[in-house]
């Protein structure tokens, strides 16, 4: 996983609550799709198929975004990880949301995409600054110091749980972390094979 330390990039505002993963990436019909092309693929287009010039990601100043700024419960719905891969394929490596849906937040952490929740009191101010900047000046997210800096005001602090922070900063392989417990897993299996043997076998009784 690509480590995340600091990111300086254009912050694109998409200030709505409850944006779901069907909106972020409509279901992929090919097995290795162009994820960047799927990002908000429906919302980016008008009903006649032409580009919607009003959609933030279509505006010239937001063509190369680094940070997405959005509302509550971002990424609800389907567990599709493509909704994270599409962000990365577009260059977005940090999402600042009022809150995240559980599975989406996990999928971000698995891919080195930093999910940031500001203190509620700071969200209004930050969103106003992002709107005012309108892509003309970048913001910087520093995961080491857990702060966002940029035009229009003072640095804003955020908190990412220490464990998640370490994983992101060091780009740790999650499977590798877990496999350090391979002996614990084997011991659990052995114990459970005695205590609840029906859990450790899943055989077809007809065969």
């Amino acid at each position: 996983m690509q480590p995340f330390t600091t990111l300086t990039g254009v912050a694109v505002p998409l200030l709505r609550d409850d944006i779901n993963t069907d909106q972020i990436t409509p279901i992929n019909r090919t097995i290795s799709p162009d994820w960047a092309a799927l990002l908000f693929a429906n919302a980016r287009k008008l009903p006649d198929g032409s580009e919607d010039a009003e959609f933030p990601l279509n505006k010239p100043q937001f063509r190369q975004p680094g940070i997405l700024v959005t509302g509550r419960n971002f990424g609800c719905g389907s567990s599709r990880e493509g909704a994270v891969w599409a962000m990365l394929a577009t260059g977005i490596r940090c999402i600042v949301a009022r809150s995240f849906a559980d599975i989406y937040r996990e999928n971000c952490l698995q891919n080195g995409l930093l999910p940031v929740e500001l203190k509620p009191a700071d969200s209004d101010a930050f969103e106003a600054r992002v709107l005012a900047a309108d892509g003309a000046a970048p913001f910087t997210v520093d995961l080491q110091s857990q702060s966002i800096s940029g035009p229009g005001g003072p640095d804003l602090a955020f908190e990412v749980p220490a464990a998640d922070r370490t994983r992101l900063i060091e780009g740790l392989d999650d499977i590798g972390l877990t496999l350090k417990h391979a002996q614990d897993i084997a011991a659990w299996e052995k114990r459970m094979a005695g205590a609840q043997p029906w859990l450790q076998t899943a055989s077809d009784s007809r065969r």
Partner: protein
Amino acid sequence: MAQTLFDKIWDAHLVARRADGRDLIYIDRHVLHELHAPHAFKKLEQAQRRVRRPDLTFSVQDHTVSTQPGRDDTTNAQSTPFLQAMRAGSAKNGIRLFDIDDPEQGISHVVAPELGMVLPGATHAVPDSHACTVGGLGALAFGCGTTELEHILATQVIALKRPKRMRVRVEGRLSPHVTAKDVALRIIAEVGIAGGRGHAVEYAGTAVRAMSIESRLTLCNLAIEMGARSGFVAPDETVFAWLAGRPFAPQGRHWDAALAHWRTLASDDDAQFDSEVALDGGGLEPQITWGTDPSQVVGVGGRVPELASVAPGQAAAFRRALDYMGLAPGMPLAGLPVNRVFIGSCTNSRLPDLEAAAAVARGRHVAAGVVAMVVPGSSSVKRQAEAAGLDQVFRAAGFSWGESGCSMCAGGNGDRGEPGERCVSTTNRNFEGRQGKGVRTHLVSPATAAATAIAGRIVDVRRLVAGAG
């Protein structure tokens, strides 16, 4: 100390606490599908890792399969690479696959329970947010992403932070034609689509206890629609009787030992929940969504809310939803003409769902101009329905009768509506674009869906069957 059932299952499956503070929770049964698993197979191979427990892992083809009679790999050309990659990856890793032509193929959340792979007090994972469905049997299930799926394949554990606990009690006796789907939609309306975020939900109360297993599966299926990754009902004799003799359920002395353990699985009387919700099921009418998220729900006799009733800060979202749906504040739902009706999906495609829809369709006919589809949740459900003559009832009434799969729930197989169409659907998400670009989805129960197909407009099934439609 008094414990919730969630805590008991979690603690029993806690393998270790990782250095980063996450709990490693053992996964007893892992079920994969072809939309996401091929990517994880590839990643595993690149990392030269093996599947730790192929014997506890199963593969199904569900998201992309064609529902056309006589289907094969090539019926739906866009799906061919998914089906083939799933077949190759499952074979290479020694995982049993319920393939497109297997007599037990179907939607994972339908197949795993009906084959007895899902057990009370067991943990279950699927790379699909509706994994929570199988909580209806008293299992603790987790929907997960593709990287988490790869993690479970390699380690047989999932690394999680312990969620909070919520209990939803539904008391009272449901009226005729009021179903688990209506209860679930009403709960989401009360709690909100993020109300269950960070929680595992236990459904309880007399109305839940009285539900069949299939109804409990429907109820738990919609836990994710209020943001909860897991939802379950404590197991009881109804569960044990339903599971007995199913092919992957324990047999003989293992069954006896399992049964003795399962009978201990309940939240302690004085267990504390982080959040409690109560609902009176007795007064409930059939429910329907009017908007673009599953909390935007009214009784089928109700109206779209007025702007004045919308919470501050939600006005823009409210207007946006109505604009997409082609509706206005205060409009009645009943009477709205529909173009399409879909009966199926992991929410509502089991035999009792199809029986409820067929009971309404029997001797009636789908209204002119309405496209009405029935897609059974598994090939086993399809056979059982055909043995009972339900396919004939549906066909005679003008419904199409498909092969099993996820079909129009998410449109991963190309089954979708046309822009601007109004679609009444027994599925789980009325999101913008979910059933096709511009498709206006209303979520309902199977009985309400069938009644709407007959009437050609949204209707209270109770009025239709009473001849007052």
